[in-house]
C-alpha cells in the first residue's frame, strides 16, 4: 500500500475512509465496466448478434430473474438486472466467443479468464462467512484479473479521452477531405498511366 499523508493520523485508516459498498462499488462500477468492455470486444469481432440472441434465451433458474430482452434493448440497469447480469455473463460470453480463429485465440481466452475472475470475485465478496482462505481466494482472483486484463485495454478509456479521440477523428477526416479537394493524390491510386503523374 502507498504511504499517504493521512495514513499517519491515528483516527484514520484507509478502510474507514472508503467504504466498499456492494451496489455501487461492485454492481454499478465493476460489472458495468466489465459488460461495456465485453460488448465492445464482441462488437469489434462482429459477434454481437449471437451475444444478443443468447442473452435473450437464458432459461429461468432460482436466484436468477430471467432477461427477456436482448442485451442492446435493455434501457435501464436497475439492481435486479445487474444481479442477473452477474449470473449470466460468464456462460453467455463463453458461448459467444466459441470457435476463435488462430489470431483471436489468445485474446479470447484472456478475455474469458478476465470475466471469470471478476465475476467470481464479486460473488465471493458477498460471502457471509469469511476465513483467511476465502480472503486469499479473493486476492488471487483479483491478481489473476489484473494479469489477463490487457485484452480490454483499448476499451477502457475515460470520458475525456473519448472526447479527445472524437475531436481528433473529426480533425483527421476534415484534413483528408481538404486534401482530396485540392487534388493531391498519392501515386499508388493514380488511374492515368502517364509518366507526368
Amino acid at each position: 500500500m502507498l504511504q499517504g499523508f493521512f495514513w499517519n493520523m491515528k483516527c484514520i485508516s484507509p478502510m474507514t475512509i472508503i467504504v466498499p459498498d456492494i451496489p455501487h462499488s461492485v454492481y454499478l462500477s465493476m460489472l458495468k465496466h466489465l459488460i461495456d468492455w465485453v460488448t465492445s470486444l464482441i462488437e469489434q469481432h462482429s459477434r454481437i448478434d449471437q451475444f444478443n440472441q443468447l442473452w435473450a434465451i437464458m432459461p429461468p433458474y432460482s436466484g436468477f430473474a430471467r432477461l427477456n430482452q436482448p442485451y442492446s434493448q435493455v434501457m435501464q440497469w436497475s439492481g435486479k438486472e445487474m444481479k442477473a447480469l452477474g449470473r449470466v455473463i460468464v456462460p453467455v460470453s463463453a458461448a459467444t466467443l466459441l470457435n476463435p480463429s488462430a489470431t483471436q485465440k489468445i485474446l479470447f481466452t484472456d478475455a474469458l479468464l478476465c470475466v471469470k475472475n471478476s465475476v467470481y470475485f464479486h460473488i465471493m465478496a458477498q460471502y457471509r462467512y469469511h476465513t483467511e482462505a476465502t480472503i486469499k481466494y479473493m486476492e488471487n482472483l483479483l491478481e489473476e484479473f489484473h494479469c489477463h486484463k490487457d485484452g480490454f485495454s483499448g476499451f477502457c478509456t475515460s470520458k475525456s479521452t473519448k472526447k479527445v479521440s472524437e475531436a481528433f477523428k473529426m480533425q483527421c477526416t476534415l484534413d483528408k477531405q481538404k486534401e482530396r479537394k485540392s487534388g493531391h493524390f498519392g501515386k499508388t491510386f493514380c488511374s492515368c498511366k502517364k509518366s507526368s503523374c
Partner: protein
C-alpha cells in the same frame, strides 16, 4: 499530379476507404495508448480484503437497504402535510404494514378454505417424538446405524440402499425425526469451513 476529375468513381471510393482505415487505425492506437485501468473504482477492489479482515463481511456496509427504504420515505413524506413529518411517516408506515399483514393472512386463509384444508396449522405429533433420546446429531445417528463415516448429507442416500425394507424404513424415519428435531430446536452443529 492527378486531379479529382481524372479518377474513376471506384478509385475515388477506394481512396476514401483507405483514408477511413488509416484514421480508424490511428484512433484505435491512440485509445490503446491512452487507456489504463488506473481509476478509483478499480483501485477500490484492492481494499476489500483488508476491509473484511478489520471490519467483517461486506454486506454489513451495503447501502441496499437504506436505498430500498428511501423510496417509501419519499412517498410517505409527500403524503403527509410536511409538519411534524417524522411522526406521521412512522405512523403511516406502521399502519400500512399492519394492513398488508392482515391482507396476507386473509389471502392465506382463503386459499386454505378453497383447498379444503384446516384453517390453522396443526403440528404433526409423530414427527416431534424422538424414539432414541440419546441420539441428537446426525453423526451420532450414523454411529448408531453403523453407517460409513462422512458428511451427514451423504447418510441419507445411504439409507435408501438395497437393504431389507423394514430396516430401510426405520433408518429413514429416524433420520427424518432427528433432522426435524434439530431444525426445530436449533441443535444443528455444522462446522463452516
Amino acid at each position: 499530379m492527378a486531379t479529382l476529375e481524372k479518377l474513376s468513381a471506384a478509385a475515388k471510393n477506394l481512396r476514401v476507404d483507405e483514408d477511413k482505415m488509416q484514421i480508424e487505425s490511428a484512433i484505435a492506437q491512440y485509445l490503446v495508448e491512452e487507456s489504463d485501468f488506473n481509476f478509483v473504482k478499480m483501485h477500490l477492489l484492492n481494499y476489500f480484503s483488508d476491509h473484511i479482515r478489520q471490519l467483517g463481511y461486506l454486506i454489513n456496509v451495503t447501502s441496499e437497504l437504506p436505498e430500498k427504504v428511501m423510496t417509501d420515505l419519499k412517498q410517505l413524506y409527500q403524503q403527509s402535510n410536511h409538519q411534524e413529518a417524522t411522526f406521521h411517516i412512522l405512523r403511516t408506515k406502521a399502519r400500512k404494514e399492519v394492513f398488508q399483514c392482515r391482507a396476507l393472512n386473509a389471502n392465506a386463509a382463503k386459499q386454505r378454505r378453497n383447498d379444503h384444508m384446516p384453517l390453522t396449522k396443526i403440528p404433526i405429533k409423530g414427527m416431534m417424538k424422538n424414539p432414541h433420546p440419546a441420539i441428537k446429531t446426525l453423526n451420532d445417528l450414523a454411529e448408531w446405524c453403523a453407517m460409513p463415516k462422512g458428511e451427514p448429507q451423504n447418510h441419507i442416500p445411504w439409507g435408501f440402499k438395497d437393504l431389507p425394507t423394514s430396516q430401510t424404513m426405520s433408518i429413514t424415519i429416524s433420520i427424518s425425526v432427528v433432522s426435524t428435531i434439530q431444525n426445530t430446536f436449533g441443535t444443528m452443529q455444522y462446522q463452516f469451513r
